[in-house]
Structure formats: structure tokens, C-alpha cells
């Protein structure tokens, strides 16, 4: 058996996985009856449906030809998502100004055209903008500077 259309095949596998998770975790919830559906009824229907659909899609991936999987360069994914997660984790302690500069610097480095000085300048400008609009203008409950700098 050979995978002829990897995009379809793996999409099908992914849907089967989602459906299985729905059914396994959903089995903890009371199913109820058709007339009085419990919290487990609808997820069960959806899970079965998803496994069926995923199965058909994966089967088609085995039988019909298709394009190969596109290459996945991990760097942009990791750096972009990582920079956002880190921003979320540090913004309350480090404050808006510095977190934005870190976010912009880190996110910019995902590009192959990364220029550190330019990114720093853009980061400082955007941090000023963010503090002006969000903290001062829209009065978000986020400090501007780290706590230890404030009396």
C-alpha cells in the first residue's frame, strides 16, 4: 500500500484523530436518551461523523494521485508563534514598552531579510504607539514599565 495523495491521506488521519479524541473524552459525559440528550450525545454524533469522513478522505489519499506534501520550514512557525507566546507571558511583569520591543525583534528575525537595527527602530516606534493607544488611550490594565522600576 502506498500513499498517493499525502495531503488527503494525512488530513484524513488528522480528522480520524480528532474524532477519536472526541469519542474517548466524550465517553465520560452522560449520553442521555434521544429525547433527553445528555452532554455526551452531540459530541458522540460528531465524533462518529468525523471518523467516517476522515476514513473516506484517507482512503482517497491511498487510491488517487495528488501533489506531495509541501516542505515545512520550521523556523518561521516556531519563531512567530514563540514570540507571541512569550509576549503574553511577560507583558504583565515586564510592562508594555519592553515586551513590544522584544516581540518585534524576535518576530522580525523569522524573516530571511532580517535587519536587526531596522527591527529595533521599528520596535521602539511601535512600542511608543502601543503604549499611547492601548495603555494611555484605551486605558488597558497593563503596566508601561517593569514593576521594579516603579516606586
Amino acid at each position: 500500500m502506498r500513499v498517493r495523495n499525502p495531503k488527503d491521506f494525512w488530513a484524513g488521519v488528522l480528522f480520524i484523530l480528532f474524532g477519536t479524541v472526541a469519542i474517548v473524552i466524550g465517553s465520560r459525559y452522560n449520553l442521555g436518551t434521544a429525547a433527553r440528550m445528555g452532554p455526551g450525545y452531540f459530541p458522540r454524533i460528531l465524533g462518529i461523523l468525523l471518523i467516517l469522513l476522515g476514513g473516506i478522505i484517507a482512503m482517497r489519499g491511498l487510491r488517487l494521485d495528488g501533489a506531495p506534501l509541501p516542505a515545512w520550514r520550521w523556523r518561521p512557525t516556531l519563531v512567530v508563534l514563540g514570540s507571541v507566546v512569550i509576549f503574553g507571558l511577560i507583558v504583565t511583569t515586564v510592562g508594555m514598552a519592553i515586551s513590544v520591543v522584544i516581540l518585534i525583534m524576535m518576530a522580525s528575525s523569522a524573516s530571511s531579510e532580517f535587519r536587526p537595527k531596522e527591527a529595533l527602530l521599528s520596535g521602539v516606534l511601535l512600542a511608543t504607539l502601543a503604549v499611547g493607544v492601548f495603555v494611555i488611550g484605551l486605558k488597558l490594565q497593563v503596566p508601561i514599565w517593569p514593576a521594579f522600576l516603579q516606586s
Binding site: 459525559y29 459530541p43 507571558l89
Partner: protein, 500 residues
Amino acid sequence: MELFNHLALGFSVALTPINLMYALIGSLLGTLIGVLPGIGPVATIAMLLPTTYALQPVSALIMLAGIYYGAQYGGSTTSILINMPGETSSAVTCLDGYQMARKGEAGAALATAALASFFAGCVATVFIAAVSIPLSELALKFGPAEYFSLMVLGLIGAVVLARGSLLKAIAMIVTGLLLGIVGTDVNSGVARFDFGILQLTDGIGVVSVAMGLFGFAEIITNLESQEKRERLASRVKGLWISKEQFKAAWPAVLRGTGLGSFLGLLPGGGAMLASFASYAVEKRVAKDPSQFGKGAIQGVAGPEAANNAGAQTSFIPLLTLGIPENAVMAMMVGAMTIHNIQPGPQVMTSNPGLFWGLIVSMWVGNLMLVVLNLPMIGIWIKLLTVPYRILYPAILMFCAIGVYTINNASFDVSQTAFFGLLGVIFLKLECEPAPLLLGFVLGPMMEENLRRAMLLSRGDPSVFITKPISAAMLAAAVLLIVVIALPNIRRKREEAFQEE
């Protein structure tokens, strides 16, 4: 006469200074993101949704709606001047608009696009006002069985008219429905699929799903491909249309408006479908089809009218039935829910100021766009010279701050990043994210109506096919799937989406 009273009420709401201001902000932001490639209306609405918490609901919705139709104007500007559609719905405008610009008729093309859009916007506004009342009266007669079947039809229709694999799209809907029921079940109080995470008992936020799947995933794939963009903007000399051009364009505008208004009504419809269909129609009815692709003014006028009309009339199913028909409307459901408005036929009666104010604001916003946009074209083109390496971190920043401010919680930011990762995987596997978002917002409503319908029928599932309206809608959904699955039509559908 009732219609005029309603419109008068709408004007009294839409013309207050504060709402005028938000209509302006929304349509300008819409134009901006329409000009900029790599960020669409869905991600922008997700980004701005958190900042609208403090606003009056009507102001918030006016601004968010402005983003959608504003994007249609902005997208056509870049299509004409630099052959690069800022939005998918203006992709066809490139074909003849850019050719007109190369012939030195950029001004005429831009003016045609703007005036055609404005005309279509005016007609669509009246059309919405006229159709909404009977439709919402019909919807008020719907019971849970009818509603459930309507949602099935809406979801199926949305994927049939969208591009890509039908099976995958349906699987994406089901995945969306599952994500939609994460959180505490209202009937039993059981926290479902919370994976032991406290924050998930409140459910997953629509902002996180939309921003991750549409915003982050898009940026990441753009970074991977690193396409080079040419930036050779044509000179714009004089924004006027000759008599001959006007004569050639206006029938196309009328056809485009009609077609767009109708297609906007259908599930899965909206701006993109309307513009593609209109281009195909214009090419067919033209006396000299060989001119298409070489700068035929009809090829600009028709699709531009159609995409704006379609963008606006796609609000009809949302406002009257509570059913979003595309991803942007799904975001509007999210916005209404955040402001404690349950979308559906009762909005018109319980909240007439909001309903008519929103509709009239679309007309007002269109007027602002036509007046403001033409003089501002120079600024938009300047913005395009900002390289992507500077642009995308700024977009990320607005996304991160936006999602953080929903609950002041870093959990929401991580959750959004998770959906970004999921979005990248989906794009690699060629699974369109839009059906997932539709399923996501409809999930809880669908389960609730299914439960109620089955409770009323005492567990007899035949209720869905013994009630005539419900049966008709389910039959239509099945028919749609069967028709699309026929090999002949499937080929036609693929061709229709490849016409670029």
C-alpha cells in the same frame, strides 16, 4: 411606507457623530487592510473585536461592518495599480483593471471601480431593508427542527460554493462544531473537553480561533514562501471617465449589482463568489469577448459592483435568520454575542435602532469611501512600499495585544498561538479554515436546537423530515451534495474557481 420609517430610524442612529466616526474608522481600516496583502477582514475583525468591548453595540457593529466593505474598495485599488489583489474578492479586477492602467487609463479604471461599488452599495442597502422584514417574519415561525435543518443547509451550502475539496470542507465543519461545544454545557453544567484546563470551561474564544487560523497561519506561510513583490505603480492621471466608457460600463454595473445582491444572499456567497461570477457573465454577454484581459472596462465595472453588493447582502442571512454564511459573518456573530445580542430574527424587533442603524451605516460608509478614497489613493500606494519584513511584526503586535486584552490573560495568547499552529497544518494539508470557523460559531446553537427538537418529538428523529419546511431544507442540502459530487459539475466548479 413602513420601510421609510425604518430607514429614517436608521439614519437617526447612523448619523450621530459617534457612529459616523466609527463608520469612518471602520471603512478606512478596511481600505487599509484591503490594500495590504497578507491580512484579510477576518483577522482584522478578530484583532479589533476586543477593543470594541467598551463601545455601544451598534457602534461596534458599524465599525466592524465597515472593515468588510471597506476592504472591497482597497482591494480593487491595488489590483488596478499594481496588479496585486489585496483581497481575493478583487482578484478578477486585476485582469482588466491592470491592463487599463497599463494603457494609461488607471484613472478611469479607479473611478469606474469606485462608482460601480458605490452604486452597488446603494442598491444593496435598499435591498437589505426590503428583504429583511419578510425574511425575519418567516424565521420567527421556525421551530427548533426548522432551525436545525436551516443550519445544516447553511453549512453545506457554504462549503459547496467555496473552493477546494468538499469532503475535507465538511470534515472541517464537524471539527469546528466540536470546538464550538468546548466549555460548560448550559443544560447539565458539565464542563466538556476542558482537558483539565480551567480557562477552557468558559469555552474557546472566537477571537483566538479566527486570529490563529486566519492571521498567524497566513503570516507564517507568507514568510515561508518569501515571494518577491514588484512595486511598479502606474501613474494616475485624472479620475475621469469618457462618455464611451460610461456607456460601456453602466449595463455591466447593473448586471453586477443584481448578480452580486443575489449571490450574497446564498450560503457561502459574499464578495468573492460574486466578483468571479460577474466576470464570467460579462465575458459571455460581451459583443467582443476577445477584449477581456486586455483592458475591457466591463471587466472592472461588473465584478467591482458585484463584490460590493455581495459583501453587503451577505449580512441578510445573519441579521434575519442568525445564520452566518461566510467567515466574516461568523466574526460578526462573535461580535454580537460579546455584546449580548443573540443574532436572529428577534434583533429587528427587540433592537430596531441597532438593526436599521447598521444597515443605513453601510450606505453612509460607502458614501464616505467614494468621497475619501479617490483623493487618498496616493497614500495607500505609499503604504505598499513598506516592506513585508516590517509589516508583519507590527500585525503580530496588534494581534497579540488584542487577544491579551480580552481577559488580560496570557492563556488566551498561547491558545491563539496553538490555533496558529493548527492553521499552518491545515494550510499544508489544503484544508480551508473558513468552514471550521462557521461550524465553530454555529456549534452551540446547533446542539441546542437539536436537543429541543428531539425533546419536542419525544426522541423521534423523523421530526426533521415530517415537518415540511425542515424536510425541504434538508432535501436541498442533500441535493447540493449530490449535484456537486457529479463528475461533470465538479469539473465546471473547479474551472470556475481557476479563472484568473
